[in-house]
Symmetry: C2
Subunit: 532 residues, 2 copies
């Protein structure tokens, strides 16, 4: 792990910033889009200019080696990485930092920290990479001391079973370290969320993160073979099993529990050989809904492309991949076993049926994927998180939300959600905004639409403005039957809609389980539910 | 639904019995195997010869239309379909029948029955097709009145969404009715457990049943889009979503809950078009472990055959499919979209690499699947449940158990479990028995081995003898890391091993949830856990 400091005000390491030409390009894009002549730029906050509330709890001497009240650590652990977080950072609003940042080196350390937290009635927030965009890792408003438990030192691949193609991996392992340590085995997890570089295995599991695969293995869930979890009531470990029908799945209670039931310290994860065969293609469609129909047909053909990303015309355009007249569908098939052209050719037959246009010559291998519209999209996708720290200080609101809905309801749902979001932007900012959509994952029974919205906000009112837009969008989305999150998790930000979406008796059951595993409601209170 | 009566002493309808020549063939097989010269045959019990304990509770007049104390219904609902059940039936041991059999016509009826059960402190056992082989539906030993709630009249496909390829189906729908009602839509669930004809959708979901697909979609779990469940605390319904990351999955708490948390009255199920392309092949291997290695390679190639059934030499032989010198691997690929020969050819390349022998001419289409060793196996598979009512009264113990284990541990695990079972048979019966194995489902990280054991028991001691063998096998299986059930469920019979397998803190959480949804422990007590 690098010793370089992470930005507390943005994405990645302190040395990683967009180049001047990239910043100019962003400014030009948004200036043109919103008819702005110049930007007033809020300076990037400096650590030493921010004063934090005194830590409300004293770390006992036995824990000083693994518990820090360091100013920078507390800054860094004050927020996740949503627009709301970014806007508060640039507003120098650090009114509610954690009191202590715990950095355990072992499971025994975690137990000691939980014991101490229990003794001082503290709240404990499990922290992986801190990439939450849903308020999943920020301290709740509480008079109890807040200890953020950062798992970054519980890192590494402990054991690889090449026969079963699985590995035992520590919860605090970041994406690059995970794949790096697996590399010599020839195996890979291939779970590549946009946050890959700055998120951890434990975080992916705790939030039911979505990854690389657009179909079939959309969430981390299916890759979990077994879990090891520390709860305030003790430690549990499920068996390594390829499959089981013995009662409700133990793992599934903890997958998606968002740090409320326990701390995931290790997991056996299902791997596969690194793909050596690949076929990629990009198709264009004049009509987004026709393109969606095509994606439905591909999904229902059970072809299982690894990538099946439909990007609407506006979203392609704003990311420099297309002229804004066509929706773009990126398809990739991959395998470690056999050439993937047959699946690709069948998918392209379907594309043709639905009026999609593509260059048959460009449908081959890795190189094709790295250039053209697909490549431009890919580059933009990786750079996106870095643009927030440029746009927020210029008063540009860019936020996203993702959902899922069955195909029968999709066109109406999409039109209504998009219209409601556009209307909210007009009402809130007085100007038209931009609302775009892509499919990140698709299923035979429906897509996972991922919306982005862009608006020219007002400095000083950015949080309220973005929140008003999000509420309008989420209300419609929830009312029309979508899920409040396909893979970003619930956190604190999605609570009001999650509470409506989730069956009440299931909530009751879950809260009862929580009460048993965490009697004092120590772990991440306010996320998912209010502890009793 | 036919009005014909189901057998209370065996499988299927009263008119469905093995032909005389089939019975003779069975007798010959086992006589030769165990060196028996003649069979003493216990007569099939008749309903009128059995007297049952008086019903311990009076049905209120408001419920007499949907609650029966009929002698035959109580007989029919006394047992599931395991060897233990069969042996007790032929021993005329009906000492613990349900007091009432409830036959609700609607969800409102179910609520009324639960209300009444609550008022008389009765136990309620949800009953689908009654095909449990793990003591999942028999009355517990209790002084509380026992009401068995048979869902057979809550049957039918309510609504089909052809766009999303899903259907809303009532919990009490039997396999044939379910597929029959879907047929005109061109869609199918294709969940074909061996019990298909006499089991229900609700039962499959409640027990995490295993179905048609040997790979990828092994359990019913993945096909559940949403659930509707009546609990003593009220009714809940999850949203129809193709995928979600909003907290732990609500459905997954009820999938596998075996009637302990609620009664599954409806589910939206994911369907697919009926397959029109099919490729099948059968390969023979001299060595079972080498064949297992081949299956591992096929699973890890992510080819996803619909069928990938490895049957060891003895199991093939005793079912008339092979001469007992070779293990048989049956492979089938199927699709509604495209020809399946490419996948089949790749699988056969792998088969060849591992020394499997096959007839390249016989690898085509439906016809091939219906004849030859694969066809013989298939016929035997469908007839198997009917043979129990012939063998049990002849003192032949035939029972099965299924598990799952990762590939790295499989050879040692298989050898030890087989040896322990063989040894137990020798100790218990004084004679060698037969222990065979097949793979019902396979995963990239491990197989689901399904063991059968055959032994010549002693009339009057069959239950104890079989139980002693099962204990020996299960103890080893549990100790070596397998699951006590891959798809037959836990019920009451597997409790002691399930309790060791299941993480204790997960049990605590589940029991706490149970307490909230079913405060009086009304639903299926003793299954999965002991209510508090």
């Amino acid at each position: 792990m690098t010793s370089e400091r992470r930005k507390f005000w943005g994405w990645g390491y302190e040395s990683e910033v967009l180049r001047a030409d990239e910043i100019t390009a962003l400014e030009d894009t948004y200036a043109k889009r919103f008819g702005l002549s110049a930007f007033q730029v809020t300076p990037t906050p400096r650590s030493e200019d921010i004063s934090l509330r005194m830590s409300r709890v004293a770390v006992p001497s036995s824990l000083t080696a693994i518990c820090s009240t360091d100013h920078f650590e507390r800054l860094l652990h004050s927020y996740g990485k949503s627009f709301f977080d970014s806007a508060r950072v640039f507003a120098r609003d650090f009114r509610n930092p954690p009191d202590v940042v715990a950095l355990p080196r072992s499971e025994a350390d975690i137990v000691s920290i939980l014991d101490w937290a229990d003794s001082v009635d503290a709240v404990v927030i499990p922290w992986g990479g801190g990439s939450s965009v849903v308020g999943g890792v920020e301290p709740p408003r509480t008079d109890r001391p807040v200890v953020t438990l950062d798992l970054r030192y519980l890192s590494g691949v402990v054991e690889i079973d090449t026969t079963s193609q699985a590995a035992r991996i520590r919860g605090g392992t970041y994406g690059p370290a995970l794949e790096g340590e697996l590399k010599s085995s020839g195996l890979t997890l291939r779970h590549f969320p946009q946050s890959f570089e700055f998120s951890t295995l434990g975080g992916w599991i705790a939030t039911r993160g979505g990854g690389h695969y657009a179909t079939l293995y959309t969430h981390i869930d299916e890759f979990v073979e077994s879990l090891r979890v520390i709860t305030p009531a003790g430690t549990l470990e499920s068996r390594r099993l390829p499959g089981s029908g013995a009662g409700p799945s133990p793992d599934r209670m903890f997958i998606g529990s968002e740090g409320t039931l326990g701390i995931i310290t290790e997991a056996w994860m299902r791997l596969r050989p690194r793909p050596t065969f690949r076929a990629s293609s990009t198709a264009r469609f004049k009509d987004f809904y026709r393109a969606a129909e095509c994606v439905r047909a591909i999904a229902q053909a059970h072809l299982y492309p690894a990538n099946c990303r439909l990007v609407d015309a506006d979203e392609a355009h704003i990311n420099g991949a297309g002229d804004g007249t066509s929706s773009i569908l990126v398809l990739t098939f991959e395998s470690a076993d056999r050439p993937q052209e047959p699946g690709m050719q069948r998918a392209l037959e379907i594309v043709r049926t639905y009026g999609g246009e593509f260059d048959p010559q460009a449908s081959r291998g890795e190189a094709a994927q790295r250039k053209g519209a697909a490549g431009q999209w890919r580059d933009a996708f990786i750079r996106m998180p870095y643009s927030r720290e440029v746009l927020t200080p210029r008063g540009i609101i860019v936020e996203t939300f993702e959902t899922a809905i069955t195909w029968d309801r999709f066109p109406h749902f999409h039109a209504r959600v998009k219209a409601a979001t556009e209307q909210a932007i007009r009402e809130v900012t007085g100007k038209p905004g931009l609302v775009t959509c892509r499919f990140t994952h698709v299923y035979p029974d429906g897509p996972a639409p991922y919306f982005s919205f862009h608006a020219a906000g007002d400095q000083g009112r950015l949080v309220d403005q973005c929140w008003a837009i999000k509420i309008a969008a989420s209300d419609v989305l929830n009312k029309l039957g979508g899920t409040i999150t396909h893979h970003h998790a619930v956190g604190r930000d999605h609570r009001r809609w999650y509470d409506r979406e989730r069956p009440e008796l299931f909530a009751q059951g879950l809260i009862a389980a929580k009460k048993r595993l965490d009697p004092k409601g120590m772990l991440n209170p306010g996320v998912l539910f209010d502890p009793e």
